[in-house]
């Protein structure tokens, strides 16, 4: 299982990285943690002449949270860095959870959030928790910078609107408007290590009268891409939440999923679990927003 032959470039600035990508065009690929790319290169699924590593680009290696700027995740920030960064667990608990339980300790020390998003796997664990926080993917390419809402980023299994000459510079999400609660729940056969069979994220923000002024629901591994479900969200927005409305929204999310049968799970089980996880995540988010139990 030796690797096909390629060159590895290790630029030390973003400008150099962009130049290298443009110079080698179709024969080049961005390499970050390599935890998706290296297995694919080994399996011969893709053949590439030039890997442009982002691991020595200091401009991309950062994670921060502040009430003004919200969350800013650099394009080379590792999953473990994001899980541990101050403010992440408090404000984006679903994302912190995803970044601390997905894959393995070793893989979380190598892999990045940007790589997880750019890889565009239907089951990518950081996608649903970022979707409920209205995350934006900020990219830089030969033509300059552009910002793409994560909700518009994925184009299909393994496909996105990212151009091959572009680099994800940051992933940002606004500071959650309080009072607010959110959660990401995932199911997999071993609970750690293996890819999620179902992932559901929820967010509820309340107004002064206890009504839902913002609801977000997103799912992973049960559709061609991770995605939000505005129909389900609308069932709660503007309403005083109760068990019946939560059940209806959970049911709507389940109805909007279109899972497949595969080695990880059956479609029927997945569809049913979307509803179960959505109900639990909504109930938990509501409790958090109401200042209740953890």
């Amino acid at each position: 299982m030796s690797l096909a032959h390629f060159e590895v470039h290790q630029p030390t600035s973003l400008a150099q990285a962009l130049d290298l990508l443009s110079a080698h065009r179709a024969d080049a690929r961005v390499l970050c943690g390599g935890t998706d790319l290296v297995p694919k290169l080994k399996a011969g699924v893709i053949a590439i002449g030039h890997l442009i590593s982002l691991k020595r680009v200091p401009e991309l290696d950062h994670v921060s949270f502040s009430p003004d700027q919200g969350l800013v995740i650099g394009g080379a920030a590792r999953l473990s860095d994001v899980a541990e960064a101050p403010g992440v667990a408090e404000n984006y608990p679903g994302l912190a959870h995803a970044c601390s339980v997905m894959a393995t300790t070793q893989i979380r020390h190598m892999g990045t959030v940007a790589g997880n998003i750019a890889n565009a796997a239907p089951s990518g664990d950081t996608a649903a928790p970022l979707l409920v926080h209205d995350a934006v993917i900020n990219v830089v390419g030969p033509g300059g910078r552009r910002s793409i809402p994560l909700a518009d980023f994925f184009a299909g299994p393994g496909a996105s609107v990212l151009d091959s000459l572009e680099i994800i510079e940051t992933i940002t999400a606004p500071a959650p408007q309080k009072p607010c609660g959110s959660q990401y729940l995932r199911l997999s056969a071993r609970s750690l290590v293996d890819i999620a069979a179902v992932g559901v994220a929820a967010l509820i923000a309340l107004d002064g009268a206890g009504r839902v002024n913002r609801c977000r629901l997103a799912m992973a591994a049960v559709a061609p891409t991770p995605r939000r479900c505005p129909e389900a969200e609308a069932l709660l927005e503007g309403k005083t939440p109760d068990a019946g409305l939560i059940a209806a929204a959970a049911q709507a999310l389940s109805a909007a999923s279109c899972p497949i049968d595969d080695v990880r799970s059956s479609a029927a089980y997945r569809q049913q679990m979307v509803g179960v996880l959505a109900r639990r995540a909504l109930e938990h988010s509501l409790k958090l927003a109401q200042g209740g139990a953890q």
Binding site: H5, L31, T105, Q106, H109
Partner: protein, 164 residues
């Protein structure tokens, strides 16, 4: 395509090696530096046999390209024992708790244990199990490995042991 000259800093020793850019760190450690304590099991990131510590964190050396390890600080299983006649406390604990059967997973298990105890000197049983979730063992059933790491924590910091 030309080989790249890189400097690997392994267990405090500096090696200058010319490597093909598509070689993994696991291959270069084993085949160029003759540090064969690092094992290759699955070669795809699942089993943890190839775990080494790079810049203070455990990584899978089978998914790390050797050129990416240029001038990074690497610790392998060969770097743990303080001398030729002494074992590291984690290694001692594995022997005493009988946590080794065929031994193929052991280097990776010990490197993951080191990563865990470096960041969390007094882990609970649950934290030990989570810390080892990226390492597979097909022999022991894990119980004795978990016991060994608990023992190692006590050896490394006898005073600080928490009530279970």
């Amino acid at each position: 395509m030309a080989k790249q000259n890189i400097e690997l800093i392994v267990n405090g020793d500096r090696y200058t090696v010319a490597v093909d850019p598509w070689r993994t760190l696991a291959e270069v450690l084993r085949e160029e530096l003759n540090l064969t304590g690092t094992k290759v099991g699955c070669n795809q990131g699942d089993c943890g046999a190839c775990t080494v510590i790079m810049d203070g964190r455990s990584v899978s050396s089978c998914l790390t390209l050797a050129v990416e390890a240029h001038q990074r600080q690497i610790t392998t299983i060969e770097g743990l024992a303080p001398s030729r006649t002494q074992l590291h406390p984690i290694q001692e604990a594995f022997v005493e708790a009988q946590a080794v059967q065929c031994g193929f997973c052991t280097s990776g298990m010990i490197m993951s244990a080191k990563n865990l105890l470096d960041h969390n000197p007094h882990p609970t049983e649950e934290e030990i199990r989570a810390g080892l979730s990226g390492n597979l063992c097909r022999c022991t059933g894990y119980v004795k490995i978990v016991e060994a790491i608990d023992l190692a924590a006590k050896k490394l910091d006898p005073a600080g042991a928490k009530e279970a």
